[in-house]
């Protein structure tokens, strides 16, 4: 099926089987491999992307369901020159080890902070509890997200849609 949607600010048209998930489409068809697959049943959150600004598990929706929507992946939240405030904060707080869950953590945190730049630690924990990390024990991730709030209050955190 031909499907057209926007990925990281760019319109793409892909020819996919109806059964193909958005995650597989991003990774295999569009070769955006920053979106990772940790369970393919919607529990681990590693594949989280933004669909029209909302955090969505790309393993739980089909590529054809993205028709007409705007999808942002970790690549769209990154630039070549420097790290975003959220990415810098992850590095500063050592909020990642193997890096596999990190894109999903960052997309989830970005969606949260974009909507709620004043959220407290409990709220961060609640939202991130849908993303599993096996390395860090989460404490540093929560610290990193809290520390990045100021950038979102000023509007600096928003790099959404910027081509990677």
């Amino acid at each position: 099926m031909a499907t057209t949607f926007e990925v990281n600010g760019r319109t793409v048209e892909v020819e996919v089987e109806p059964r193909m998930t958005l995650a597989d489409c991003l990774r295999e068809v569009l070769r955006l491999t920053g979106t990772h697959l940790g369970c393919e049943h919607g529990v681990c959150g590693a594949c989280t992307v933004l669909v029209d600004g909302e955090a969505v598990r790309s393993c739980l929706i089909l590529a054809v369901q993205a028709e007409g929507r705007s999808v942002t992946t970790i690549e769209g939240l990154s630039s070549d020159d420097e790290l975003t405030p959220l990415q810098q904060s992850f590095r500063k707080h050592h909020a990642l080890q193997c890096g596999f869950c990190t894109p999903g953590m960052i997309t989830t945190a970005h969606a949260l902070l974009s909507e709620e730049p004043d959220c407290d630690a409990d709220r961060v924990r609640e939202v991130l509890s849908g993303n599993i990390c096996r390395c860090t024990g989460y404490i540093s991730i929560v610290e990193a997200v809290l520390d990045a709030r100021s950038a979102y209050r000023k509007g600096d955190g928003k790099t959404e849609g910027k081509p990677g």
């Binding site: 295999e28 940790g38 080890q97 596999f100 860090t136 024990g137 989460y138």
Partner: protein, 775 residues
């Protein structure tokens, strides 16, 4: 330039790619002409294969080949053990694919190669796998009591008995004024990694080179296995390490797929990739930890431990895998932990069942024994009327007793000794940090509907397994350096810490250590990899040697070019200078390189104490951690940032083992926890109140860095501390947890059993509890 990168909280260089989603994991590779492999796994725990009919599947468009044991002339190769490769284990080693029998749910029986994984999965459904079921063996009783045998020629389901001996336990028990015997149990769980396993193999027929991507942990060892199995010299095989999404002991051992995928790639002459899905991962990756202990302690009345004896029983699953015996061996060795126990007689029986085979999981055997021992110690201290901290103090090995010999393990006789440590000091620090004395009035108290409890446990963590590690330093044309390591990355940040060590040793800015290459077999002549918390100690020490040899090589080359004697050459200021004032800029000597080694037969021993304050809701069985302090002396600290990450990360894994994680089987050998909805992992909201404190009082005397392995300590004490904290919180109910995990239903059941049979309540009463509730 004297640097102090060692010891500084340097931000990781790895992060620059990971936070942008630019890491490259094995599933991110997609070479031209790639085929995808999917594996048909047995759905029967124990049975005889009658037939595999793949004709319908072969006819499916997009299916290129289906491989079974029939395609392997001479039968499927057997995977040898890497650690403790005793002859007794030989009959229990795993073939790479089932030929006649299947022995666990998840055992590979056929490999489908297709244009996509989806088509491959379609094909799986069309393969008719006919298995004659046999009686499954799913527990110790079945392994010893039933007539069903996993390996008929062997005549038994028992693989081996390890024994730990020291002194004369029988005599010590005969004369002991106090004894207590208890039974404990730790559940099956495992080192689940966020990135499932994966292998991509490509056979370059023209060059005669087999390239295997997705290597991890022990690529050099795995190359030796693959070389023997597939009939290619080691020089014709490149093992390539990509970014690795977590190790924890489980990833990177040689699994069936590590043969099947390279074999498939040669079979079809195209690159083949296999990526495990999560359901497969839960049934195919090494399981761990399932152990029982029936252990007895002898003490004097004033609380000196005289002896430990008893039996442990460990469930190996269906085969002895590469490191399958490590946890059992360690249970024998670490029952005494950091304590002075002069008389020990512990045996550990390894038995086979129709469940997924086991391997190591971070802190193997140590997590289990800390639970057994620390639980027992709290019970004994209570019996003897001695404060639980004082009881531990009286028995901790003293600094003056170092090196302190541990019990000797047989077979595969191994003697080991604790290298250094001031165990009282970390205990003191832990008590001070948690506010132990101030919080004692909370023990067992009911506050706002929850019972409060505090507990403390001590531990040791072994690290730095030998025999060798290799490192190489090379000078680049821009006067930067490339460091190559035989160590492997599993997410722990080796690129950063090795850059710190190299920059200090070379006396250059950190950025001048341009590349830190690791893991793949092409970089250095030999390597041993990442296990037993060995990377920094072994790899870092090898790197120091490499820098020294690199300096010598620089002198040799400088002397040759400058036409002077080597000892007249001076190194410094990015120049190589001769006695006559002539000098070469460093970059003119690009290409100079040297390999260094570190050989070591001893282990390092970090040590410490954990203390926790919990609140237990008696109505639901839920346990909340209000405060948790982990104190560990790790010798010389290389990077406090990554160290803390290791401690908190492993602590949360330990808490997962204490409360949540459980691989459950039914009586037919079916895995009931085949998804992350059933296999519960800690999440961000579960354990927010954890603190770690690292000290560096006792550098290791056995390596030039003074470093000790420190990747596992966070989890070792967690099970015992949590069980004791719950017991103390629920002291009025006389609840004594003897089994993990302490899931809400189990804690609730313990409380209700105590309420239903108040006659068994040793101290306190329901009336007293009600009175307290009112107060």
């Amino acid at each position: 330039m004297k640097n102090t990168f060692i010891g500084a909280p340097i931000e990781r260089r790895e992060d620059l790619r990971f936070v942008r989603g630019r890491g490259q994991y094995v599933d991110d590779l997609a070479p031209e002409g790639l085929l995808h492999a999917v594996i048909l796994r047995s759905s029967v725990a124990h049975g005889r294969i009658r037939s595999i009919d793949a004709s319908a599947a072969r006819g499916l468009a997009g299916v290129h080949a289906i491989i079974t044991a029939q395609d392997m002339p001479g039968g499927p190769p057997i995977i040898p053990m890497r650690l403790q490769p005793l002859p007794e284990f030989k009959p229990f080693e795993q073939p790479v694919i089932a030929a006649d029998k299947v022995r666990y749910v998840g055992e590979p029986t056929a490999v489908v190669l297709a244009d996509s994984a989806a088509i491959g999965e379609d094909a799986l459904e069309k393969i008719a796998l006919d298995i004659e079921p046999l009686a499954p063996v799913t527990d110790r009783e079945g392994a010893t009591g039933s007539t069903s045998l996993l390996f008929e020629p062997k005549g038994t389901n028992l693989a081996l008995i390890f024994r730990a001996e020291r002194g004369d336990a029988a005599a010590a028990f005969r004369d002991a004024p106090y004894r207590r015997r208890e039974r404990f149990k730790v559940q099956r769980h495992y080192g689940l990694t966020m990135e499932p396993r994966g292998v991509l193999a490509a056979w370059d027929a023209a060059a005669g080179i087999l390239r295997v991507f997705g290597a991890a942990k022990v690529p050099f060892f795995n190359r030796r296995i693959l070389s023997a199995q597939i009939g290619l010299p080691e020089t014709a095989i490149d093992m390539v390490e990509n970014d690795v999404g977590g190790g924890f002991g489980a990833r990177g051992e040689f699994y069936p797929e590590d043969f099947l995928i390279p074999f498939a790639a040669r079979h079809v002459g195209r690159p083949v990739k296999w990526i495990e899905d999560r359901r497969e991962n839960l049934m195919a990756m090494n399981h761990a930890r399932e152990a029982e202990a029936d252990v007895e302690i002898a003490c004097t009345r004033d609380g000196k431990v005289l002896a430990l004896r008893g039996h442990s029983y460990t469930d190996m699953g269906a085969y002895m895998r590469t490191n399958g015996a490590v946890g059992s061996r360690n249970i024998a060795q670490f029952m005494s932990g950091p304590y002075r126990v002069e008389n020990i007689d512990i045996d550990v029986t390894l038995f086979m069942t129709n469940k997924t085979p086991v391997g190591t999981y971070r802190g193997p055997g140590r997590f289990e024994t800390d639970f057994f021992r620390e639980r027992l110690f709290d019970m004994v201290a209570k019996d003897l009327g001695i404060d639980r901290i004082e009881f531990r103090r009286r028995n901790l090995v003293a600094d003056a007793e170092m090196p302190y010999r541990l019990a000797t393990i047989t077979p595969f006789e191994s003697k080991d000794e604790l290298d250094s440590g001031d165990y009282q000091s970390t205990l003191d620090r832990c008590l001070a940090e948690i506010g132990w004395s101030e919080k004692q009035n909370l023990q067992g108290r009911l506050i706002d509907g929850r019972y409060h409890g505090l507990a403390l446990g001590c531990f040791i963590e072994g690290g730095a397994a030998g025999p060798k590690e290799t490192a190489k330093v090379a000078l680049n044309e821009d006067a930067t350096f490339t460091v190559s390591m035989g160590s492997s990355a599993v997410g722990q940040g080796v690129e950063t810490v090795f850059a710190q060590i190299a920059a200090d040793a070379l006396e250059v800015p950190l950025e001048r250590v341009r590349d830190v290459l690791h893991g793949s077999t092409a970089y250095v002549s030999d390597g041993y990899g990442a296990y037993h918390s060995r990377s920094i100690v072994m790899g870092g020490s090898a790197l120091l040697d490499a820098v020294e040899k690199f300096r010598a090589a620089l002198r040799t080359e400088g002397a040759r070019r400058l036409g002077c004697a080597e000892d007249a050459v001076r190194l410094g200021d990015d120049r190589v200078s001769g006695p006559d004032g002539r000098a070469l800029a460093l970059k003119e000597l690009a290409g100079v390189a040297a390999e260094g080694f570190f050989l070591n037969k001893k282990h390092t021993w970090t040590y410490g104490a954990h203390a926790a304050h919990v609140a237990v809701d008696a109505k639901t069985g839920r346990v909340d951690i209000l405060d948790y302090v982990a104190v560990e002396d790790v010798g010389r600290i290389i990077n406090p940032l990554t160290l803390k990450g290791q401690v908190i990360g492993s602590l949360v894994q330990g808490l997962g083992g204490a409360f949540l994680e459980h691989l459950v089987y039914d009586e037919h050998g079916q895995l009931l926890t085949g998804s992350l909805m059933d296999y519960l992992l800690p999440t961000a909201s579960d354990f927010p109140n954890l603190r770690s404190i690292a000290t560096d009082e006792k550098p290791s005397p056995i390596n030039p860095l003074g470093a000790k392995g420190a990747g596992e300590g966070g989890m070792i004490a967690a099970g015992g501390v949590m069980a004791n904290a719950v017991a103390n919180a629920l002291a009025d109910f006389a609840v004594e947890p003897r089994e993990l995990p302490l899931s809400p239903p189990r804690v609730w059941a313990l409380i209700n059993a105590a309420r239903a049979y108040p006659g068994e309540v040793a101290t306190g009463s329901a009336t007293r509890i009600c009175a307290k509730e009112k107060a």
